[in-house]
Subunit: 410 residues, 2 copies
Amino acid sequence: MSHSVTDFTFLQGVKVIDFTQFEAGPSCTESLAWLGADVVKIENPKMGDPGRRLRPNEPDTDPYYFHMFNANKKSVAVNLKSPEGFNLVKDMIRKADVMMENFAPGTIERLGLSYDVVKAINPGIIYAQVKGFGEGSPFEKNLAFDMIAQACGGTFSVTGEMDGPPTRPGVTIGDTGTGMLMAITILGALYKRRETGEGHRLQVAMQDAMLHYMRVNFATQGRTGTAALRGSSKVPGVTNAPMGLYPCAPGGSNDYVYIMTSRANPEHWDRLLTVIERQDLIGDARYLTPADRVEREAEVDEVIAAWTRGQSKFDAMQKVGAAGIPAGAVLDTDELNSDITFEQRGVMQTMVHPVHRPFKMPGWPVRVDGKATRIKASPMLGEHTDQVISDWLGLNGAAIAALKTDGAVG
Amino acid sequence: MSHSVTDFTFLQGVKVIDFTQFEAGPSCTESLAWLGADVVKIENPKMGDPGRRLRPNEPDTDPYYFHMFNANKKSVAVNLKSPEGFNLVKDMIRKADVMMENFAPGTIERLGLSYDVVKAINPGIIYAQVKGFGEGSPFEKNLAFDMIAQACGGTFSVTGEMDGPPTRPGVTIGDTGTGMLMAITILGALYKRRETGEGHRLQVAMQDAMLHYMRVNFATQGRTGTAALRGSSKVPGVTNAPMGLYPCAPGGSNDYVYIMTSRANPEHWDRLLTVIERQDLIGDARYLTPADRVEREAEVDEVIAAWTRGQSKFDAMQKVGAAGIPAGAVLDTDELNSDITFEQRGVMQTMVHPVHRPFKMPGWPVRVDGKATRIKASPMLGEHTDQVISDWLGLNGAAIAALKTDGAVG
C-alpha cells in the first residue's frame, strides 16, 4: 500500500492554532493538517476537546470519532484561566498564521480571545469562526449541532419518502460540510496573505452553509415557485424514468441498486432492456420516450425490479454499468470498510496510535500526483505540549517545567 | 443590503481554464471565482455545458441550475475539433494557473488534453480532475452522477427510516461535496506554487469523497464492528433522549421541530420540562437520567409532542432555543427563500442577468471581515470569447474575427 501514500507538503510552514471541538471546526483544521500545515489543538488539561469522549464521565474507550477529525494534529494542554497559560497562548497566537474556533456564541470573547484582542496581538492572523447561526440572524445566540443546522438549513425538508415526514440525511454536512467551506476560505486568505501579509476575520454559520449544498433544490424552487419536495430515492422535479433504487437478492436491508437512465442518452433505455433480457420491449410504444416512461413509471420500475430481484447488487451494478448505464450498488459502512481496493488506493488507511488499537479510516480523498496523504495518529491530550512550546516559542526545558509546576500547561 | 456585500479578491490574478460540466466540477471552479479568480469556461459553440439545459432539446427556459454553479464565471465558446480552436485552447492553457475537467472517463484524453500533453505545454499548471470512481477501482471506467456516487459511497445506507429502504439524501454532496474537497486541494497546491512554481495533477473520485462525509458512521462502525444503521430523524448509536423531530401546528408536511438535549448538559431536560410546562415531571424517577429516558423514549417523545403539536415550528424553536436547548425548525426552500434575513446578511443575493429574470440564490456563505462576496451573472454561451482571447492572449479584433470566420470560436 505504501507506494500510494506520501506526506503532502502544500502547507508546510503554515501554523494553525486550533481551539475547535467536535466536528465542524476540527474537520476544517484537519484538512489543513492533511495538506501539511502544523495544526496545534489548544485543549484544557482536564478533559480536552469534548469530542474525545462522546459519552461524558466514561473512560476514553471510544476514540473513533476523535480519530476521524483530529488526525495529523498536535495537542497542547493549556489552562487558559491561569495568567501564565493565557500569556503562553497569546505568545503562540503571535506566531500563528491561522486561528480557528467553533465555541458556542460568546465563549471566545469570555475567554479573552475576541477578534479585536487577537488582531491587536497579530494583525496578520486569519481568524476563523464557525457558529450555528449567522451574525444578524434572529437565532445568532442559539446553540446548534449538526442536526439543528440541517433542519434549519433545509436538508431534512428534501429527504425522505414523499408522503412521509422530513428525514435526517445520515451524513454530517452540517458539521463537515461547513468545515470544508471554511477551509476553502482560509486557503484563499492564506494565498493572498503571501502577497499582502494581511489578516482577516472569517465567519461561517452552519445554517447558511447548508444552503450551499441545497442548491439543486433552490433551482427547483426557482423553476416552480414552490418548495422543493422529498422524493424517496427519486429526484423530484427531474422527470425521467427509469431512475431510482431497485431491490436485489438476497433482500437484505441495503440490497438495492441505483439505476439511472439519462434523458440526454435515449439509447440507455434500449441498452438496459438488453441487459435485463427484455429485448421484446425495445421499440414498444408504451415505453418509447422518457415522457411515456414517466407516465408508466410503476410499470417500468417493475420490469426492472423483476430482473434485479434475481441479482446481487454487485452483479446488477457490474452488468448495468458495463453497458454504459449509470448504476450503483447501495453500500453500507461494513461493505466499504471490507473493500480492500480503498486501502490499495490510499483512500482508507490504518491509523497507528500509541495507545488505541490500529484503526482503518477514510483519509483525504484527493490524490496529488497519484498519491494520497498519509494519516498520522490523532494526538493524546497534551502530547505535544513540550515540543510545540519549544518549537514555536523557543522555551527551554526549565521554562516549560516551571509552567507545568504552575499548572499553566499540562 | 449592499453594505454587507463586496468583491472578494483573495485569488485576484489566478487564471482557471474550466472544462467542467453539470455540478461536481462547476461547483469547485465557482468557489474559486467567488474568491476572486478569473474562471473561464471553455464550451462547445453548439450547446455548451449540458448543465445549461437540463431538458435537452427544449429552449433554454430553465437557467436556475446553471446559475447556481456558474456565477461569476466567463464563457469562451471554442470548437476543439478545429485545429485553430484546439491551438487557441493550448495557448490559453499556457497562460493558466489551474485547469479543471470532470468529463466521463477517457474523454479528456480523446480531446487531446491529457495530463501529459498539458504538462508538456505548461509544467506549472495545476490539473484537476473529478471522476465517479477512482483510478484502480473496479469501476474506474463507469459513469457516475450524484446519486450513483452517493449510493456507492454509503450515504443512502444511513438515511431513511430504520425499517424502511435506503434513501437518497436530498442534498447533492456527491457533486458539490466532491467539488469542495477538490477546491481545498487546488488552493493548497496554489499556495505552495507561489514558492515553487510547481504544477501537480489532482484527482478525486466522487465515491471516495462520500466517505469523507460519512465519517461519523465509520466511527460507529469502528465501535460496533457492524454496519452503521439508518434511524429516521434520530442518530443511531448516539444513545440519548429526547432527541429528534416533533410535530408542530398546523400539521403541514414540514411542520416539525428538531429538539436535542445533550448528554453533557443534564440540565437541558429540566429546562425543557419547564418550557413545555411539565414541571411536574422534574425529578420524576422514570425520566431522571439519559439512560432512563432512552429506555422510555416513546413516552418521553409523546410528552414533548403533546406540547409541540400546539405550537408553530417557529414558536417551538424560539421558545426551546431561548432556554438554551438546541432546537431547529424544519425549513423548506420556500420558507428559506422568503426569509429576508438571508438577503440582509448577503447569504442570499439576487443574480442580475442580461437575458434571464433576476434570480435570488444562495451565494458563498463564508464572510470575510463581515462581508459576503458579490454574486455576478452566470455567463451566456460565448459571452466572453472576444474579451478573454484579447485579455489572455493579446489577440486583436482582426485575429479574433478570423477565428470566428474559420468556425474555431463562437
